[in-house]
């Protein structure tokens, strides 16, 4: 390649001028260097992103009786309602179910089991008492798997956050998977228009098909404050399996009872380990959380809810859904009339 001297000088001049101009231009554009700086390989970060928890300072706890109940007293087949107190949610759940006659009473080998906890939001970890305690859910899954269930599925429809995110942040995903169950995302496709034959206020609603077809439905709510229902307990927790929940809020108490009449869960286990005293159902303030260290279990959803209400200093009569449910004969809210076993582990 050969260029003349004149050509060389000409090219050199052009390149120098261009460089100088570029430098001037850069200076004019200003130097807010590295505004969007990170050259990280992935732009999206894993979620749930950890939101630091404030240390749970002085959450009031109910006083525990000093001596645990001896195991020989626990297995009592007539127990209508089991109330277990303690510090270990796993042991508490196992004791409660044993008191009702054991998991074999509810789950037969080959059964298709659906467990419905409360995973309503993906906002906070379980310490904030917005979602069911993962240890509680995990223990129930373990027991069902041990009883020979064909499959054990855990599901809910969060209104805040995606299901995948809510499942992970609540800790329930990890607990269920290690216990041998599966998490299911409730697909829009599987909801169908379902008649509610005993319904007083509503006679049909869109309900998740698989829940209607499962062999066993176990309702595992967490006891929380709710502005309209006053408390959200076992019966209200069933709202997770329907669509159009916004429209459901008229005459809410009766409608909750109507829905319960359709679904009739086989077993209700109320998570009262931590309870949300105010600003439910999503919570977010540790000052609203109270350590009640209680698990309530029963075949009778109305009775379980009625007992859970006492954790808040209320009775079944104070809760519209419980009143409606008792009236419809779905269970009894009269705690004096049934055999309650109060245990400590």
């Amino acid at each position: 390649m050969h260029i003349s001297r004149r050509e060389f000088i000409r090219r050199l001049a052009v390149i120098s001028f261009a460089t100088a101009l570029a430098g001037k231009l850069l200076a004019f554009l200003g130097c807010s260097l590295v505004e969007k700086g990170e050259l990280t390989p992935s732009t999206l970060k894993p979620s749930p992103e950890a939101v630091p928890l404030a240390p749970p300072a002085a959450i009031p706890a109910l006083p525990l009786p000093t001596a645990p109940t001896p195991p020989s007293v626990v297995a009592s087949p007539d127990t209508y309602l089991a109330v277990v107190r303690g510090n270990n949610p796993s042991d508490m759940v196992e004791t409660a179910i044993k008191a009702l006659g054991g998991i074999e009473r509810f789950v037969k080998p080959g059964d298709d089991v659906i467990i419905k906890p409360n995973i309503c939001v993906a906002y906070h970890s379980y310490e904030y008492a917005a979602t069911t305690n993962p240890e509680v859910v995990g223990t129930i899954v373990k027991l069902c798997v041990g009883a020979g269930a064909r499959r054990v599925r855990v599901m809910d429809q969060p209104f805040g956050g995606t299901p995948e995110q809510a499942y992970v942040r609540s800790g329930i995903d990890a607990a269920v998977k290690s216990a041998g169950g599966t998490m299911e995302v409730m697909s829009r496709v599987k909801f169908r228009d379902t008649p509610i034959p005993d319904g007083k206020d509503i006679t049909r609603w869109q309900v998740y098909g698989d829940v209607l077809e499962a062999d066993v439905l176990i309702d595992v709510p967490i006891a929380k404050h709710h502005s309209l229902a006053r408390l959200t307990l076992g019966m209200k927790n069933l709202m997770g399996v329907i669509l159009n929940r916004g429209q459901f809020h008229s005459n809410l108490g009766q409608r909750i009872a109507d829905l319960t009449s359709l679904l009739k869960p086989d077993l209700t286990i109320v998570d009262g380990v931590r309870i949300l005293m105010n600003h439910g159902p999503s919570g977010g303030d540790l000052n609203d959380v109270k350590l009640a260290n209680t698990i309530i279990a029963s075949r009778d959803i109305v009775a379980a809810d009625a007992y859970a209400a006492t954790l808040f200093g209320l009775t079944g009569e104070d809760i519209p859904a419980i009143r409606a449910g008792a009236q419809m004969g779905l269970g009894t809210a009269d705690l004096k009339s049934v055999k309650i076993e109060e245990l400590v582990v």
């Binding site: 807010s32 969007k36 732009t43 999206l44 939101v51 805040g160 956050g161 697909s187 809020h249």
Partner: protein, 520 residues
């Protein structure tokens, strides 16, 4: 004897790999999804979007400096990006186009300068602070159309098909399995937002132009093609015709997808138009066509576009940029649009390249391309349409994915404190106010710890003369962050009875920080 089309298959393979990578990254753009490559890789490679955003924002956006690699590619090999890597180019290659007949073997015409003029107008308008014309960038066009049109429509069809098939019990397990596979990757529950038909129109228009000429967009309109074409004048990879072997059969001119081969110039390929697809090499019956590397410094060619065209572009940009600021008498600050958390009209004007990644990543489908009739300069920048989807309290994905920082990358804790607007209740329609019935859905849904909506019990005598009470919602302005979940779930039919509007707080540079416990 048909010669083996070796370049055809090599190029097709590379095109397919690039397109597959493009779609893989696009479908992987969802909340919390970490991948081995950044999901905005194609935008980082896009020198037009990068330079426009940097000029308009007067800053260096470091990840987008990767665009220089594509510029160097053009200097070295011509418009090979267009022919081998560009996903829109690949899509246009596969879109049916009009076959070129011998009689209309195309020539380079003045119309081809349009794409270079578009490029200049984009840069000059960016220098004046307006980025609206970047909607003509091919990568933003593709991703934006996919996010706001193609994928939602696909979701609609697939979900409808699944719902119908789910009726038949024997096929249920298959449907369930398929749904689990595609939901939240390919399809979502988010519905198609009707105003996005304008986005669809542009996209379909670009594809439909292929009916006039193959790769019409690439020939005449693509501003990125214009930029790369200008650099291609210096290309080291030269198209050469062995004139001794050439029999003027015109096959190369007919097969050229961008009509770069000029028959009257001995079938020489114009480097500004040639996308180095190498189809001419394959098709020549006499092997007269080849591409050879030429060494040495780039030659300084006759300057194009001409000075007249440069001045015309400058003039157009000077007129266009202020026009886009046109606000129809409404003060620009009084925008009624709720913007993504931490963003603001100012940030969007200077940085948003309308890429559509935030639209794709938003888990509720609340972010939509804005089409405010009062402020055109922010056309198709993201706005939160709460009725369609609220801003989720556990999500900060839009800020993470935004390639230019138009939406700042906030941590989740910061984002939860960032104010996007203020909710306001229409008491004429809100059920407790208007009908005396309890509702409370807005308060129930409010994610703010301590609630930004309180309920006040009011006793009154109803129409039947009975003394009754109702819970009336009231917004606490100092707690509300404007996420819109209340507006989204309000059961009132039609327009929601509680709506989020931008507040003074949110308009001032995007996001103040609330102090917890501050009373109304």
């Amino acid at each position: 004897m048909k010669r083996l089309k070796k370049w055809y298959w090599r190029r097709r393979t590379v095109q397919i790999l690039a397109l597959v990578l493009f779609f893989y990254l696009l479908l992987g753009t969802s909340q919390g999804n970490t991948m081995f490559l950044p999901q905005d890789l194609f935008f980082r490679l896009d020198p037009l979007a990068g330079s426009a955003a940097m000029v308009a924002s007067r800053s260096f956006i470091v990840p987008m400096l990767l665009g220089m690699a594509v510029l160097l590619l053009a200097v070295a090999t011509g418009r090979s990006w267009c022919g081998w890597l560009c996903p829109l180019g690949t899509a246009l290659d596969w879109t049916p186009s009009r076959r070129q007949r011998d009689s209309d073997v195309p020539k380079a015409s003045q119309l081809r300068r349009v794409k270079e003029v578009f490029f200049l107008i984009i840069l000059i308008a960016a220098a004046f602070g307006s980025l609206t014309l970047i909607i003509l960038d091919p990568i933003t066009l593709l991703v934006r159309s996919a996010s706001s049109v193609v994928l939602p429509v696909l979701s609609l069809f697939v979900t409808s098909a699944e719902t119908w098939l789910y009726q038949f019990s024997f096929i249920q397990p298959v449907v369930g399995w398929f749904d689990g596979l595609v939901r939240n990757t390919l399809i979502t529950d988010n519905s198609f937002y009707l105003p996005n038909l304008t986005v669809a129109a542009i996209f379909i228009g670009v594809l439909a132009l292929n009916a006039i000429r193959s790769r019409f967009w690439c020939r005449y309109l693509c501003p990125l093609g214009g930029l790369l074409g200008l650099l291609s004048k210096m290309t080291r990879l030269k198209h050469q015709v062995d004139h001794g072997a050439c029999i003027s059969c015109r096959r190369c001119a007919r097969i050229c997808p961008t009509g770069a081969i000029e028959a009257e110039k001995q079938f020489h390929a114009n480097p500004t138009e040639c996308i180095t697809c190498l189809d001419c090499v394959d098709v020549c019956p006499k092997n007269a066509v080849s591409f050879r590397w030429k060494s040495g410094l780039p030659e300084l060619q006759r300057y194009e576009p001409s000075r007249r065209q440069l001045l015309a572009s400058l003039g157009t940009a000077v007129i266009v940029a202020p026009l886009l600021h046109f606000t129809a008498g409404v003060d620009r600050k009084e925008s009624l649009l709720v913007r993504p958390p931490g963003s603001s009209e100012k940030l969007l004007t200077s940085r948003c390249i309308r890429c559509g990644l935030c639209l794709k990543v938003c888990p509720t489908g609340g972010l939509q391309p804005s089409q405010s009739t009062t402020v055109w300069e922010n056309l198709w920048t993201p706005a939160l349409v709460s009725r369609v989807g609220h801003c989720d309290y556990s999500c900060n994905a839009c800020g993470q994915i935004c390639p230019t920082g138009a939406i700042p990358d906030l941590t989740l804790a910061e984002k939860r404190r960032t104010v996007m607007g203020l909710a306001s209740i229409d008491e004429k329609r809100c059920i407790p106010f208007a009908e005396g019935r309890d509702c409370i859905v807005c308060e129930e849904m409010c994610p703010v710890p301590g609630k930004a909506i309180v309920l006040e019990k009011k006793t009154f005598v109803n129409s039947e003369g009975k003394k009754t009470s109702v819970l009336l919602p009231r917004v606490r302005p100092h707690s509300c962050i404007g996420c819109g979940i209340c507006e989204h779930y309000c059961p009132v039919r039609g327009e929601s009875a509680i709506r989020v509007f931008p507040s003074a707080h949110s308009l001032n540079g995007g996001g103040g920080q609330r102090r917890r416990g501050q009373s109304t």
